[in-house]
Amino acid sequence: MNVQTRLSIEGVTHRFGRVTALDSVSLAIEEGELVTLLGPSGCGKTTLLRIIAGFINPSEGRVVVEGRDVTGVPPHKRPVNMVFQRAALFPHLDVRANVAFGLQVAGIRGEEADGRIAEALRLVRLEGYEQRRAHELSGGQMQRVALARALVNRPRVLLLDEPLSALDLKIRLEMEVELRRVHRETGATFVYVTHDQREALALSDRIVVFDNGHIEQVGSPDEIYHAPASPFAARFVGDANVIAVDVVSAQGDRAVVAVGGIHLDVASRVEVGAGPAWLVLRPEVVRLSSAHNGGLRGLVLDSAFRGTGFSYRVQIDGLAEPMKAEIAAEHGAPFSVGDDVSVMWESSSCRLMPHTATNVDYHQSDNESAD
């Protein structure tokens, strides 16, 4: 085993009754990494986090922290700490006593405890808040206290369970900056659960994309975004259009596909044979122009201003779902709902994915509810 592996998940399977929440998941997390477990609700990411914390014992598999098998070890004897979704600060204790809790039960007192508590509060920039109670703090401050309360114990792995999901956007963005800074300053190993792909892209060294209890893809934010391994990953991260197409002919990294009744020349990037496949197209590479301009014909269903541009949903003849398009504001006058448009993209800016056993019955609507 690699000496630098801080945490390894080895073939973890978990079943709740007849439902398989995790299906033989394996993952190695290196020292000092910030790894995000990303996926829609019910994908198993929180179950895995709770298995690492020790709140759930997996049906099969092992959890190993720095070479020590901790499977079956109760949560209070594990060298990991958790930041909960809703902070879970002890309401009967003030900020200092909350942060001191772990040290106190570990029997660490006196100067060392004082020093570590002050250090943790400085780290989350809450010096001077020692005497406050939880109900006197804002949501963002509560999560900072929760972070300090966990980090003061110097956990081998810090677990974060959607810690920002209860905050509103402005505080969330500030807290992301804070989390990155705290991670840099402490060099601690973070395992971060979120369903927010934007948050995952902004924070992570590596992202683990979960779907239906298994890992879809592991990679850097850049890899996940630009080289999604599956239609699910493409759609969940970056909200790509995933279109069912028929490959008419393929040669090297070029292919001709039939989509919406016309033939298009596309970059395939991977080996595909003739037959059904998925075409993955990021909304920001889609271009719209006035009708009768070649390309696919479509009807603008919806238009929303996004500050830097507009996002459109365009119904294309012969396609099951509307195509999403992000158009920067300087690219000509925006279109209106009901306009006829032609839809185009650079043939090199899309990806073709062959059907596989796991993605052939993939339905876009499966993750409609997740964002």
Binding site: H76, M82, F84, P91, F101, A134, L137
Partner: protein
């Protein structure tokens, strides 16, 4: 402002109902201060005579002492066992939770007469001498469901993430209970204990069946009613009522205290989400 139609009929009926409820109580209290031995109007003078007489009576003192000892032991055991039962129920398998809760709670539906007779038969079968111990056991059977119901409700409202957080921070299950669970539910448990005391203190029907030669306060009143009728009965009743009311007031204060804490935390959550 709400606009309510006030009907004079409703008003009169309400007043009559309140009079019907409270006048007898007021009369009992009033005549406990009567200067003569008469228990009916006219009220001829005010005195503490019957209080002095009652409080110095050895029988009354014995009954008061007995009731207090029984109620104290009942509320103590109810506090310990009821809390354990409610806490255990929270963490047992979800499928077992509802049936177990129902079993613990069910005795509340049984008529006192039934509980009294069945316990009497039970004690007789076992050859147990009737004493304060049998009274305390019988009261425990009667009081436990009330305590259990309140304790379960209080523990149910706790955020399970708090106990998880404590355990995640290294606290053993015992420490979690002492440092996190108890500090949040103790006002409710204290209130429920005060209620247990009050329920036991003035229990009559079940006591009637399982008590031996001694007397509790309600039994004392009952036996006195059968012998002489004078204002000392009013005195004992008034004292019993005062003690019970005081305990309910104590319970109420604890509940208010717990509710205030909860409201503050709810505010904190709302503010936390909005700021």
């Amino acid at each position: 402002m709400s606009v309510t139609q006030r009907s004079p009929v409703t008003f009169v009926v309400t007043i009559l109902a309140l009079v019907f409820l409270y006048v007898p109580l007021a009369v009992v209290v009033l005549f406990s201060f009567h200067a003569t031995g008469a228990l009916s109007f006219p009220f001829t003078g005010f005195s503490f005579r019957w209080y002095e007489e009652t409080l110095s009576s050895p029988e009354f003192r014995a009954a008061l002492w007995n009731s207090t000892v029984v109620a104290l032991s009942v509320s103590f055991f109810t506090l310990i066992l009821g809390t354990m039962a409610a806490y255990g129920l929270m963490r047992c398998r979800p499928r077992l939770r509802a049936p177990l809760a129902a079993l613990f709670f069910l005795p509340i539906t049984l008529p006192g007469l039934f509980v009294g007779i069945s316990l009497l038969v039970y004690f007789a079968r076992l050859g147990v001498q009737l004493s304060f111990a049998t009274v305390a056991i019988a009261h425990f059977v009667f009081v436990f469901p009330y305590f259990f119901l309140i304790a379960t409700a209080a523990l149910d409202r706790l955020d399970p993430a708090l106990e998880e957080a404590a355990s995640d921070l290294g606290a053993s299950p015992g420490t979690v209970f002492r440092k996190v669970t108890l500090p949040q539910v103790w006002p409710i448990l204290a209130a429920a204990t005060a209620l247990s005391f009050a329920l036991s203190f003035d229990e009559f029907i079940i006591t009637f069946f399982v008590i031996g030669p001694d007397s509790t306060l309600p039994m004392f009143i009952f036996s006195k009613l059968r012998r002489t009728v004078d204002p000392s009965i009013n005195v004992v009743s008034t004292l019993l009522m005062a003690i019970t009311l005081a305990l309910w007031a104590v319970a109420f204060i604890f509940v208010l205290r717990a509710a205030r804490g909860r409201a503050r935390r709810a505010d904190a959550l709302l503010l936390g989400g909005a700021s």
